[in-house]
Amino acid sequence: MNNFTRLIFLVTFAWVTLILLSYVIFIVIVPFPALSNTFFDRFIVGVLKVLLSAILFILWLLSLLLLRNYIANKSIFK
């Protein structure tokens, strides 16, 4: 398999996972309601939403990095 085909697979992987990631962040995490209407609860839930979204986004970036390293090891550094 040549590297261009691997890159096509990489773009397809990024497309599918980015759709799933955007669903999880914007449809599940962001609209999640606070447990009660107090300022503290709303603040904690807000911070947790940002943290969880950031962790998921970093995991997505890490998966892209792992795939890049795999492609580089199969081609540039073989």
Binding site: F4, V11, I19, Y23, I27, R68, A72
Partner: protein, 327 residues
């Protein structure tokens, strides 16, 4: 009458960019504003930047449309491109650090926020719109710096910048005009397409002119503004995947926003036959451009064509995504 103007202005955009590049090229050569094309065996000098021509081609239709319709979205787009163009031009003349350039381009988002030309919701395939009153302004603030700098990083081979912008704008045009059925908004991607096309004629292999940071940042900021105003965030994001991958791989390799002139080891070299070859050094950044050339020594035009094909494939995926949004 309005539809004729909407059809004519992108043609005027092409004409302005095309003619200005013709006039700008001898001016840049006369003032020794030229750089070495490292991917050519003869190391020829190429004039730079074409940014003023690209900016005029994009800004003129926006100003005309603002005076004709009094709609602030055209003024906001003009101001966004103007701010980013000035930052790019300063970078072309004085060389700004990578991180400072990233921070300054945030200013380009301000006209879009101040004039509130955005709708605080994102439409998702299958699920429809999700209201994001607090989060959306933050997305707007990040869009212009991220998109313009990612587009700036894709300018690696002759023709990749112009070709990529043509495909990005064309996919956005197809989605807006034919899938979402909003032809009145199609003037944004159509203007970008025509200006990119005029630039591509001179920038394709072998390049007669380089965009410079002023050109690439302006093209990116216009695409970002167009994405927000036309509400094509999700499909445009998917069309943009190769630029995201390229930008992220550069940042991950060099660990931060470093100006490309400061990268010590080049990932691509030119062999004795004048073909591009990957560096085997582990210290050189593992970029998309390097992965493309890893298939073996190849002429620059083949590497450029492969990057453009990758954008074409992403554009196809973005059109599929837009069709799923209508489902």
């Amino acid at each position: 009458m309005q539809s004729i103007i909407y059809f004519l202005l992108p043609i005027i955009s092409f004409t302005i960019t095309f003619l200005t590049i013709i006039l700008l090229t001898p001016f840049l050569v006369k003032r020794s504003m030229v750089v070495i094309d490292f991917h050519k065996k003869d190391h020829r000098m190429v004039p730079k930047p074409a940014g003023p021509a690209i900016f005029l081609g994009l800004a003129f239709p926006m100003i005309i449309l603002y005076f004709l319709t009094s709609e602030v979205k055209f003024l906001a787009t003009f101001l966004t491109t103007l701010i980013v163009f000035v930052i790019g031009l300063v970078d072309d003349l004085k060389v700004l650090s990578g991180s400072l350039k990233m921070i300054l381009t945030v200013l380009g988002s301000l006209p879009l926020l101040i004039f509130r030309v955005y709708t605080p919701s994102i439409v998702f395939p299958f699920f429809g719109p999700t209201r994001l009153t607090i989060v959306y302004p933050m997305i707007v603030l990040l869009t212009i710096p991220v998109v313009s700098n990612a587009i700036n990083m894709i300018d690696v081979y002759n023709g990749t910048l112009g070709g990529a912008c043509m495909i990005l704008s064309l996919s956005q045009f197809i989605i807006i005009a034919f899938i979402f059925g909003r032809p009145d908004q199609a003037v944004f991607p159509l203007t970008l397409f025509m200006a990119s096309f005029a630039f591509y004629i001179f920038n394709r292999y072998p390049s007669k002119i380089f965009a410079g940071d002023s050109g690439s940042l302006v093209l990116g900021s216009f695409f970002g503004a167009s994405t927000i105003i036309t509400r094509t965030e999700i499909p445009s994001l998917f069309a943009f995947v190769p630029a995201i991958l390229n930008g992220f791989y550069i940042l991950a390799s060099i660990k931060g926003f470093v100006e490309h002139r400061r990268i010590k080891e080049r990932p691509i070299m030119l062999n004795d036959a004048g073909l591009l070859e990957v560096s085997k050094s582990k210290a050189a950044p593992v970029t998309l451009a390097r992965l493309i050339v890893a298939d073996g020594p190849m002429p620059e035009w083949v590497a450029s064509k492969r990057i453009i094909l990758l954008f074409l494939y992403s554009a196809f995926l973005s059109i599929i995504t837009a069709m799923l949004m209508r489902w």
